[in-house]
Each structure stands twice: as structure tokens, then as C-alpha cells.
């Protein structure tokens, strides 16, 4: 039996308040008023499709053994690199073995559902457990409907033959060059056609007929579907498609428009992951992907669903929010408006690719060293142990630190150094079980930093080299809010 063994997601902490976006842009496009409700997620300056993928995968894997993973597939229409395997960066950050296969997929907003169907086939053919990740940091023009409708998020599904919490009942795909929007390789923003046509001809016909064919193929009646997931960015489309396809209106899964927005290719995974958090055994789920055709996947939950839980889940990340009502701040953080950066921003961030390769476990995997002679943990791993009690040379073995909890030893909020989102927070931290590092803090909120504050490591962009078009990644420390409330009351 092939299916989904584990699931997880990630939603960036910052949420643009749509009313404030409308207050800033409504003079220009009064029609946006009807979209000015709720909030949408957006990436911090140091987040992209890769970093969100890493967080979604970590959420999915929680404390599970990672050694069974054979493949990492990353689907996005906003891959950071056109030519540098994005999924391989994810693999390095997850500290998976070099023998794990990695594949980037892209091309349309249904690339994630296509990748999932492909993963089912591959796993069925003994390709091994596949981490199927979808992530989207789609750029939208300021003052566009897309800016209001979209959101940034990622989700991850672990496809396996064993212990599945949702098994595959069937799938069906069609490929049709229906161009409702497009974006050429070098372009930043989508070009969109009239929504009424997309709703009628695209969703109303292509999607509805694919659903009917899929149901027939799987030998299931439409009214047997308990949960219907169609992450359409247009309003009321899910409901009308369900109705035309004969799916119960009660089965239509909320598209999270008011709290997240549409995360493009990642949206079907995000909604599925969110749904699986609360799904019961023996429920039938229909998952639809649309773009250049249509994918329909039918799943059924098993008894294992009761125990399958991500670390935080989409709902956990949705609750960890930082409402932003400053539209200019949103534009600046999103790279859509360049505020004066000062001369310190001129510091050359040219990557040193030889060193990055040599030190990739340290830099991308946050792997430190543990001295076999003294037991001391340190970061980074070095030829001579830092232990003062005895001299130990080449005694350290790999010691991954990314999943270890840490706490603050020292901190500051630096207004002088360049940061795309000042002030820059950083300081020294100590890991539970030993090991220290000087690190940047991210996702700092209203609660001020304090010595001893619990932290969780997160994979982020360290520096962006605008001149050469490169992103350097490293780990940062974020306040661990799941422990924060406990430690403050204790």
C-alpha cells in the first residue's frame, strides 16, 4: 500500500494585514477594496522556497528517523536557483546521506500534485521513501489582486509504502495548454488573464471533467468524498467546482484565504497537511492541482492518522504570527521597495564556493563535533578539540546540532550594522548537551530577548550577493515560543 506516512508544513511568521495594503494602494485601484479582509503570510528577507522547504520537511519529520529517506523532491514555481539543485540544498540542510536522490520540479502551479503522483509511482516501484516538498515564495506586483490573494508557505509529505496515515486510492491527470497566467524565465511577476474566463473554462470545465474521470477510475462516487481540496486563488471556485462535480458542499476544505492566502504550487500540500492534522480514520480526500492541465488525487485515511502528528503543523505555524500593518515595511522586507541601505550594505558578500563545498556539513547541515576522548561538543568541528582539560587531536566525530534546543547566553540589538530588517539581533548561544556558537537571531517579536531564553535553530539565508545573484545559507536561532510561555511562567 502506497500513501502518505507523515506530513508537515511551514508558514512564515509575518502576516500582511490586507486592510493596510488597501489603505496604501486603494487610491490607485479602488476595486481592491473587496479583497481587503484578513491577512496573508509573507517571507522575511532571509526566507525563500528553499528555507521554507527545510522547515516544512523538519516539521514533517519531527523526531522520526531520517535514514529511511531515499529521495527529496522539491516543487515550486519560485525556486531560488534556476541552476543549482534547490532540493539538494534541502537535502544538505536536513543532513541526509549523499546517496539520497534529489529532484526539482516546476513549470506550473500543479507541479506539486504532479510530483506527488510521480512519487507514488516511484515508491510503488521500490524507489524508497520520498520526501515530497512544495514551497512557494511567489512575487506579486504591489497593488495587484495577486498581492492580496497570495501567501507564502511550504508543506511536506513523506511518501512511503509503510505505516501510511493516508493511502492512495487513485489519481488522474490531464495536460492542456490552458494559459490563465504565465511568467517567462527572466520575469518576476505573473501576467494574468480575465478571471471570469479562468473560472468558467478552466475550473468549470477542465477541473470538473478531470475530477469525474478520476472518480470513475478509482471507482468512487463523488458523494463519498469527505474532504475536497482545491486551492484555487479565486473566490467561491472550490464551492462551484464541488457542486458541478457532485461533491458535497460540506466536503469543501477552507482555502485559508483569510489567514494565509494562496501559496501557488504549495497550496494543495499546505491544505492537505492542515487537513490531515484533524482528519479521522477512513475518510476519503480529494486533492486537486490546476495549471497547464489538472491533477486529481484520491486518498483515504487509515487508523494511523490518529498518531501521525507533525512537530508544529500548519496550524501551529498559523498561530505563530506577527501581524504587519506597515505596508512599506512589507514592501521593503519583500524586496519590492529599496529603502536607503547605507554604505555598510556595500560589504561584498561574494561566496567562496570552494570553502562552502569543503565545509558544507558545517554550513548547511549545522554539524558540529563531539570529542571521542572528552565527550565535549563544539561548533564547528576542528582538528584540535577546544577542550582545555586535555589535548585531543582529530578526535571529533560528526555531531548534528540543528535539532538541539539552545538558549541565549548574550545578545544585542544592533542598529549600526547593515541588516535588510534592522535592528540586527545576534549573540552567543549554548546548546542543550553542550556546544556554543555566535549566531543571528530571527523571528524576534514583542517579547524582548533575555539571557536564558529558549531557542530553536532554523535554516535561513545568511547573505544575498546581489552583484552575482547568489544566496548563502546558514542557521539562525529563533525564540522557541512553544517553550517560551512555560519558561516565563516558571
Amino acid at each position: 500500500m502506497v500513501g502518505i506516512r507523515a506530513f508537515g508544513g511551514y508558514v512564515p511568521r509575518m502576516r500582511l494585514q490586507r486592510a493596510s495594503a488597501y489603505a496604501a494602494t486603494g487610491w490607485h485601484a479602488p476595486g481592491l477594496k473587496s479583497f481587503a479582509k484578513g491577512e496573508r503570510s509573507f517571507c522575511s528577507w532571509d526566507e525563500d522556497a528553499i528555507t521554507m522547504s527545510v522547515e516544512a520537511a523538519r516539521d514533517c519529520l519531527a523526531d522520526r528517523d531520517r535514514s529511511a529517506i531515499s529521495r527529496v523532491v522539491l516543487a515550486s514555481t519560485s525556486h531560488t536557483f534556476a541552476d543549482r539543485q534547490n532540493s539538494t540544498v534541502v537535502k544538505e540542510a536536513l543532513n541526509l546521506a549523499d546517496s539520497v536522490a534529489a529532484l526539482d520540479v516546476s513549470g506550473s502551479k500543479r507541479c506539486a500534485t504532479s510530483a506527488l503522483i510521480d512519487a507514488f509511482h516511484a515508491v510503488e516501484g521500490n524507489a524508497g521513501d520520498t520526501l515530497c516538498v512544495a514551497s512557494e515564495r511567489n512575487a506579486q506586483k504591489p497593488g495587484s489582486e495577486g498581492e492580496f490573494a497570495s501567501g507564502h508557505a511550504a508543506a511536506c509529505l513523506l511518501v512511503s509504502k509503510d505505516n501510511c496515515c493516508a493511502k492512495l486510492l487513485g489519481s488522474h491527470s490531464v495536460s492542456i495548454d490552458f494559459v490563465d497566467h504565465f511568467r517567462k524565465e527572466s520575469e518576476t511577476f505573473d501576467y494574468n488573464w480575465e478571471a471570469r474566463w479562468v473560472r468558467e473554462e478552466g475550473y468549470g470545465k477542465i477541473v470538473v471533467s478531470t475530477i469525474k474521470d478520476a472518480l470513475q477510475k478509482a471507482n468512487i462516487d463523488a458523494n463519498q468524498i469527505d474532504h475536497f481540496i482545491l486551492g484555487a486563488p479565486l473566490r467561491r471556485v472550490s464551492e462551484s467546482v464541488a457542486k458541478r462535480a457532485g461533491v458535497s458542499a460540506d466536503a469543501v476544505v477552507d482555502n485559508l484565504n483569510l489567514v494565509l492566502g494562496d501559496a501557488g504550487a504549495a497550496q494543495p500540500f499546505v491544505l492537505l497537511s492542515h487537513l490531515l492534522e484533524r482528519a479521522k480514520p477512513s475518510q476519503k480526500i480529494m486533492l486537486v492541482g490546476f495549471g497547464g492541465g489538472c491533477d486529481v488525487i484520491v486518498l483515504e485515511t487509515t487508523d494511523a492518522i490518529s498518531n501521525a502528528r507533525p512537530a508544529n503543523g500548519v496550524s501551529g505555524y498559523l498561530n505563530n504570527r506577527d501581524p504587519i500593518d506597515n505596508y512599506v515595511k512589507y514592501l521593503s522586507i519583500s524586496g519590492l521597495l529599496e529603502l536607503e541601505r547605507g554604505m555598510r550594505a556595500e560589504f561584498d558578500q561574494k561566496p567562496v564556493l570552494t570553502a562552502q563545498y569543503r565545509e558544507r556539513k558545517t554550513v548547511l547541515g549545522l554539524v558540529g563535533g563531539k570529542c571521542t576522548q572528552t565527550g565535549a561538543v563544539q561548533f564547528p568541528k576542528t582538528p584540535v578539540s577546544v577542550t582545555r582539560s586535555e589535548r585531543a587531536v582529530y578526535t571529533q566525530e560528526d555531531y548534528p546540532l540543528a535539532e538541539r534546543p539552545a538558549k541565549i547566553l548574550t545578545f544585542t540589538a544592533d542598529h549600526l550594522t547593515f541588516s535588510p530588517m534592522p535592528p540586527a539581533y545576534y549573540g552567543n548561544i549554548e546548546f542543550e548537551g553542550g556546544g556554543r556558537m555566535l549566531v543571528e537571531f530571527c523571528d524576534v517579536g514583542e517579547e524582548s530577548l533575555e539571557v536564558g531564553m529558549p531557542l530553536r535553530m532554523v535554516f535561513r539565508v545568511k547573505a544575498i550577493d546581489d552583484r552575482r545573484g547568489y544566496s548563502q545559507y546558514f542557521w539562525k536561532a529563533a525564540p522557541d515560543r512553544s517553550k517560551l510561555n512555560k519558561s516565563q511562567t516558571s
Partner: protein, 401 residues
């Protein structure tokens, strides 16, 4: 068994340029200004100098690599010139080279030089620059105020101080230094400030505000050193001799090991112990007459009082507020105005500190002169960040002490 440096080397002459935003002057102008003063003070000819050391720290701007810029600026007579760099402790590093050269008997007279032309960057503060390939990948670019500000967070946590209590204490550090700088014509900043001004100034790196930070300036300073008997043969009567030269460089324990709490300088404690031993000082609080410490930031000076053992651990806040380190206190600290008022042309600072101690011991500090005749004076010159640094301590004193 090493016998130490005590009284093996004397200072023959010193010079120090005016520190400040020397827009109109090149690094050569600054170098010559300091050097001519030192030559006249030493009363020797340039041809008598056998070797020179140059401390300069920042290569992204400034004078460029090697000892050549100094040799050319001063037209030294084709002698060895060695450029040394140890972050902000580079000035003390050049002194070590010159002093040890004389002590070894390799040369009769040596020159220790420090200079830095920082005001050509186009912005305030020290230049953003690489700290090495690995550091740039896994470290934090940050700023100097950001790194030193962290001392405050750890010190507060260790001693249970409120933000306000600590801020008031470090504010006094800056107010005191400005009071002293007013009396120093070579200081960059010669203006009094109030505690309220310090506390209410804009934040640079929490909790350090504008007046908690030393300025950045251009400057040069130098020392001509020789053996005591040569100094006497050249007609010097009152000698200032080197009593101790100590340097401790972090090996990564603070940053990567375990045990350091972030509130103090491990290296300064190591260097202080070594320096007191070499100088034969057993009770620094009683025996030291003057302190010139590396007050790049007010909080650095505060915790350094404890690292040097002149305040008890946790006692610096009270000592500072009690005025122990004021110009008329038990042990004046930064009686010349310190980095706070001179600014910090990296390579020059260590020698600028020594310059004041030298003048004070010889009774030549004019309006700033300490009335109790100084016997031993300590300078502390720190390079790097609290979690990894080079801490240099130089103790000089009266030749007969």
C-alpha cells in the same frame, strides 16, 4: 627560566599626533607629526634607530600592506620595518616587537609605531570587512558596538542588575572620560557631557547609545625605546622603564568551549595575572597609580576594572559610581580622556595610552597631571570581540620603582 622584561628597556622618547577627523592630512602627515615629537623628545637622530615595528589593523582602507608605508613616510634609513596586526591591540604589538628587540641586544634603539587613517571610509564606525572565509560563512558580520553590547546582557544576568542600574553606571564611565578629555588638547572630543545626555542618546546597539561608544578618528603615536644604560649615556636622568608586557590571545574557548558566561574578558584576566607577576605587583588596586584601558565602549571599561583585579567581581558598578576611577579618585582611569575622547585609530591607540602614562610618570601631563606622583601605570589594549580577542597589558613605571 625566563626572567621577564622588568627594567630591561626604557622609553627614550614618545610622540602622539592630535587625534581627530584629520580631513586635511594624510597618513604620512600624521606619522611625521608623531615621529618628529618623539625624535625631539629622545634627542637622537633618525640614523640611530636600528629597527622599527608598525602596528596598523585595517587593510580595507588605510595605508596598505607591509612596513614600507612607514619606512617611506619617515624616510627611515633602510632598516628592518615589520608590520604587525592583532586587531585593535596592534599598537601594543608594535611595542612588544621594539622592546624585545632592545632587550635581546639585537639593536640599541628601536621604534614602535602605530597609525591608522580611518576617516576615509565615508561613514561612521569601523569599516565592515571580512573576518576570514570560514567566519564569514558561519559567523555574524555585526558591528563592534553590537559585539561589546552583549557584555551588558550577560553582566546584568550574572549580577541581577536592571537595565537602568547598569546604564547609569556605564554612563558615569563616559561622563568621567569626557571631563578628562576637556583638558587634553590632543583629544578628538574636548567637551563635557552629562549623565542625562548619555542615557537619552540614540541607541547604537542595545543597551549602548551614542555616548557609550568611542569615536573613530585618525591618529598616530610612537615610542622610541632603548636599554636603560644607553638612555643614561644619552643624558636621560628620569627614566620610565617597561615593567611588564603581557598578551593573551583567545584560543576559541570562550566562543566554542563551555564555561565562559559572556560577562568578562577571559584573556584580560590571564594577561593581568602575567603582567602583575612580571612587574612584581601583588596588590594592583593599591600599587597602580594610573590606568589607561581599552574603553572602546563604556561597558568594556566597566568589566575591565574587574578583569584587571582593581574591582572585586561584581563590584565595578559601585566603584565607578563612587568615583574610584575619576581623575581625583583612588586610581584614575583614562585621565587623558581615553578612547572615548581620542577616538580609536586602531594601530595608534595602544601607544597613545602609553604616551599618557609616560607623560604622567615624568610629570609632564600639564593640566591633567596626577598630583600624587605616579609610580606604576598600566595600559590595557584589547583587540577583537569579547568572545575572541587579543588582550595586551603594558605596565610602565619610574626607573627607580
Amino acid at each position: 627560566m625566563a626572567s621577564g622584561i622588568r627594567d630591561k628597556v626604557a622609553i627614550l622618547g614618545m610622540g602622539c599626533s592630535k587625534f581627530g577627523e584629520r580631513w586635511a592630512d594624510s597618513s604620512e602627515d600624521l606619522a611625521v607629526e608623531a615621529f618628529e615629537e618623539a625624535l625631539a623628545d629622545a634627542n637622537i637622530d633618525v640614523s640611530q634607530i636600528g629597527a622599527a615595528w608598525l602596528g596598523a589593523a585595517i587593510d580595507t582602507i588605510n595605508i596598505g600592506p607591509s612596513g614600507i608605508p612607514l619606512a617611506m613616510a619617515l624616510r627611515l634609513p633602510d632598516i628592518p620595518v615589520t608590520k604587525v596586526e592583532n586587531y585593535c591591540a596592534s599598537g601594543s604589538e608594535s611595542l612588544r616587537g621594539a622592546v624585545y628587540a632592545v632587550a635581546s641586544g639585537a639593536v640599541d634603539i628601536a621604534l614602535a609605531f602605530g597609525m591608522e587613517k580611518l576617516k576615509d571610509t565615508g561613514y561612521g564606525g569601523l569599516p565592515a570587512r571580512t573576518r576570514g572565509t570560514m567566519y564569514d560563512m558561519v559567523g555574524v558580520t555585526g558591528s563592534a558596538p553590537g559585539f561589546f553590547a552583549q557584555l551588558a546582557s550577560a553582566y546584568r544576568a550574572k549580577y541581577g542588575l536592571s537595565k537602568e542600574e547598569l546604564k547609569r553606571s556605564i554612563a558615569h564611565v563616559s561622563v568621567k572620560s569626557h571631563d578628562n578629555g576637556v583638558k587634553n588638547p590632543k583629544a578628538h572630543l574636548q567637551k563635557r557631557i552629562t549623565e542625562d545626555q548619555v542615557i537619552n542618546a540614540p541607541l547604537v546597539a542595545d543597551p549602548l547609545g551614542l555616548y557609550d561608544c568611542c569615536g573613530v578618528s585618525d591618529g598616530a603615536a610612537c615610542a622610541i625605546v632603548t636599554a636603560p644604560e644607553i638612555a643614561r649615556s644619552l643624558g636621560k636622568r628620569d627614566l620610565v622603564t617597561v615593567k611588564a608586557l603581557a598578551l593573551s590571545v583567545s584560543n576559541g574557548w570562550e566562543l566554542q568551549g563551555s564555561g565562559w558566561d559572556g560577562s568578562y574578558f577571559h584573556t584580560t584576566r590571564v594577561a593581568a595575572k602575567a603582567a602583575y607577576k612580571e612587574a612584581g605587583i601583588t596588590d594592583p588596586r593599591k600599587e597602580l597609580s594610573l590606568l589607561e584601558v581599552h574603553d572602546c565602549f563604556s561597558v568594556t571599561e566597566l568589566v575591565t576594572m574587574e578583569d584587571l583585579g582593581v574591582s572585586e567581581d561584581g563590584g565595578a558598578v559601585k566603584d565607578v559610581l563612587d568615583g574610584v576611577f575619576d581623575a581625583d579618585g583612588d586610581i584614575p582611569c583614562q585621565i587623558d580622556g581615553g578612547l572615548k575622547c581620542f577616538g580609536h585609530p586602531i594601530g595608534a591607540s595602544g601607544l597613545r595610552m602609553l604616551y599618557e602614562n609616560y607623560l604622567q610618570i615624568l610629570g609632564r601631563a600639564e593640566d591633567r597631571q596626577r598630583q600624587d606622583e605616579p609610580v606604576y601605570a598600566l595600559s590595557h589594549n584589547l583587540g577583537g570581540m569579547p568572545y575572541q580577542n587579543a588582550s595586551a597589558i603594558v605596565i610602565v613605571g619610574r626607573g627607580d620603582a
